[in-house]
């Protein structure tokens, strides 16, 4: 996405500026664009940065001045984070979020990859029809599952331990995962897989030694999607986690909101703890994420 040779009016279209004056004129000609994009950057950064600054401000300052004024006072503290993590249970909630997210990302990854392999390289009757069913299930909203699945969970106690939320996240991640991975798996060269088969490799060997290693970009994209989706989810946790000691961060913050609706030092620090890990993952793996996005939607 960082290719600078844009198709539109890019440097490729216009002749290169020769003199200094020409360059100045060119830059001035683009002034409205720069102003518009500067405005865009401001609108998209100011709210988040405002909250970030607030999360480091002492509570007393917040009552009297806005975060935009703290640039002049420069009084910052880590107390808000200490309070949120220790007194408000966000530390435990962080651990709970990790406990929920890791299995809810890895299990669907494995199951979707296995199913996608069958849908692309193993022959069986009704393969196309079954795959169309998976595509149809993509659109089933989670709300449809709430009541019947909770009924199933009750006698098993799944809603009071992690099992319930792991299974629900896994099941609702599968249609997309199967769809995305199958579309990638079928692009692998047929010769390669047939050659392996002639050499005596079984399906399990082909899956493990050829298909999975060659599909790392797609698997990574799906893994990032699923990680962000589970980590950021509130609704599923609201319904399928009925033991408040297991609450993930999204629920913990939502709970804090009821108690401290205007205690912004607590809310800001909580929100940033929630955003910390996704932002790190997102920034470091953005390339895979964007690739997956394009493969999953438009490309």
């Amino acid at each position: 996405m960082s290719e600078s040779a844009g198709a539109l009016a890019g440097p490729a279209v216009e002749p290169k500026p020769r003199t200094f004056a020409e360059r100045i004129v060119r830059m001035l000609g683009k002034t409205p664009i720069h102003i518009a994009l500067g405005l865009v950057a401001l609108v998209w950064l100011a709210p988040t940065i405002g909250l970030l600054i607030t999360s480091f401000r002492p509570r007393a300052d917040m009552q009297s001045t806005g975060w935009w004024e703290s640039i002049f006072t420069m009084r910052f503290t880590l107390d808000n984070y200490r309070q949120v993590i220790e007194a408000q249970g966000m530390g435990q909630a962080f651990i709970n979020s990790v406990m929920i997210t890791i299995p809810s990302t890895l299990i669907p990854l494995v199951l979707a990859a296995l199913a996608a392999y069958a849908f692309s390289w193993v022959r069986f009757p009704f393969r196309n029809s079954l795959f169309l069913l998976v595509i149809a299930l993509l659109m089933v909203p989670v709300q449809v599952a709430f009541i019947p699945v909770l009924r199933l969970y009750n006698p098993l106690g799944f809603a009071s331990n992690y099992m319930g939320i792991w299974l629900a996240h896994t099941a609702f991640a599968l249609p997309f995962g199967i769809f995305l991975l199958r579309n990638f798996f079928v692009t692998l060269p047929r010769e390669l897989i047939e050659a392996a088969r002639i050499d005596g490799a079984g399906d399990i060997g082909i899956f493990r030694k050829i298909v999975v290693p060659l599909s790392v970009p797609a698997i990574a994209a799906y893994g990032i999607f699923q990680f962000l989706w589970v980590w950021n989810d509130l609704l599923m946790a609201l319904v399928f986690v009925q033991n408040s000691r297991l609450n993930p961060m999204t629920r913990q913050i939502q709970g804090l909101l009821g108690q401290y609706a205007s205690e912004w030092h607590i809310l800001a620090a909580g929100a940033f703890l929630l955003m910390l890990l996704p932002l790190l993952v997102f920034i470091s793996l953005q390339r895979y994420f964007v690739q997956g996005l394009l493969a999953g939607s438009v490309k």
């Binding site: 022959r123 009541i147 019947p148 896994t170 989706w229 980590w231 950021n232 955003m275 394009l294 939607s297």
Partner: protein, 379 residues
């Protein structure tokens, strides 16, 4: 926010699937029993968490459903209540049929019929009907006039507002930003900034915007900007007339990056020569944008529109954290109603009916996806 708005990644079977589908796709023949091993876990979960619940919830929606069991058969009364006797779900404030309304209704129905007829004729004759645009405009005017008279409100209507304004503004801003960014050196930076909300949980996004909208001018940025102008303080989230617009704006802020990235990739696919040629022929920037760029990204635009509409139907987290559907019930959406009726409310049958309505709203998109994929797999 397409990721985090309680929707998850919504894939839409896309254009290039045809090309990619060739690799492993062969007519269904032969049976390798190992397929069962590969498929069993996934299919089992799909059966238990998708197929069975869909059937159960559908049946439950005809019952009172105390504690989620099939008891107290009500027939269609849950649906009847939602559509006619529940102002929180959908309500028309002036349902009497006076002559003005009757004429407006006729205009809407007439133009709907006209569009259908024209669509059929166009398919048969393969020509574009020039009056179609005019009929569409008539339809739009009729609908706007009818809503002005009947003043609908409630969760379902809020979803309509979301679909219309959130979807169109996200697409519009996404395209504008993608086009503008493609003309500067710092394109990647701008796209990265706008795209960042995609990683943020809707819960965090809701906190960020509650903060921006705070009525206290020492906390809320917007009221701090408005205060010197003598306006406010505005209770963006406390005024039933404003709250939905404030929420939609926050939703737009979260989703524009998604549209920008997708459309920017599509723009890169437009051959530079076409635009160069147009420019040589004396086309203005506006003409290039409207006559070349927009038509050439129309497919990704429509796929994005579908994705965003699905987002709206499933919208929950943002509303739940920002307003709890309030003030009162002013900002409820259907996904919120489903949760509210079933869980705090304990009305499982009614909640199931709302879930079925959500599913029904998504079925056209389901059919569209399946049909699209099937034609691609065959060719």
């Amino acid at each position: 926010m397409a990721i985090s708005s309680g929707t998850g990644p919504i894939p839409v079977t896309g254009q290039g699937t045809r090309r990619r589908a060739r690799g492993g796709y062969r007519p269904e023949s032969g049976f390798n029993p190992l397929a069962i091993v590969f498929l069993a876990p996934a299919l089992l979960l799909l059966a238990v968490f998708h197929v069975y619940p869909t059937i159960y919830t559908f049946i439950l929606s005809f019952f009172r459903g105390r504690s989620g069991e099939l008891n107290g058969f009500l027939g269609l009364r849950n649906y009847e209540q939602l559509f006619f006797r529940d102002p929180n779900f959908i309500r028309f404030s002036n349902p009497s049929l006076d002559p003005v309304n009757a004429v407006l209704a006729l205009i809407v129905i007439g133009s709907l019929i006209a569009i259908a007829v024209l669509a059929i004729r166009q398919r048969r004759q393969k020509v574009r009907d020039p009056i179609r645009m005019r009929v569409l405009m008539l339809l739009g005017i009729g609908i706007v006039a009818l809503t002005a008279i009947y003043r609908p409100s409630g969760a379902l209507w809020n979803n309509v507002l979301w679909v219309v304004f959130y979807t169109s503004v996200v697409l519009f801003l996404g395209l504008i930003i993608a086009v503008l960014a493609s003309r500067v050196r710092y394109e990647a930076l701008i796209k990265g900034i706008v795209f960042l909300p995609m990683a943020i949980a809707a819960t965090a996004l809701a906190i960020i915007w509650r903060f921006v909208y705070s009525p206290d001018a020492d906390i809320g940025l917007l009221n701090a900007i408005l205060a010197p102008a003598g306006v406010g303080p505005v209770a963006f989230l406390g005024d039933p007339a404003i709250v939905n617009w404030a929420l939609i704006a926050a939703g737009i802020w979260g989703s524009v990056g998604f549209a920008t990235v997708i459309l920017s990739a599509a723009l890169k696919g437009i051959p530079g020569e076409i635009i160069e040629a147009a420019r040589v022929d004396g086309a203005s920037e506006r003409q290039i944008f409207l006559r070349i760029i927009v038509p050439m990204v129309s497919l990704p635009l429509s796929v994005l529109a579908v994705t965003l509409i699905v987002n709206v139907v499933k919208l929950f987290d943002l509303i739940f954290v920002m307003t709890q559907g309030g003030p009162g019930t002013a900002s409820r959406v259907i996904a919120f109603s489903m949760y509210q009726e079933a869980f705090p409310g304990g009305l499982f049958g009614k909640g199931a009916a709302v879930a079925v309505i959500m599913l029904l709203l998504l079925i056209p998109i389901m059919i569209y996806n399946v049909r699209r994929f099937r034609t691609e797999a065959v060719t």
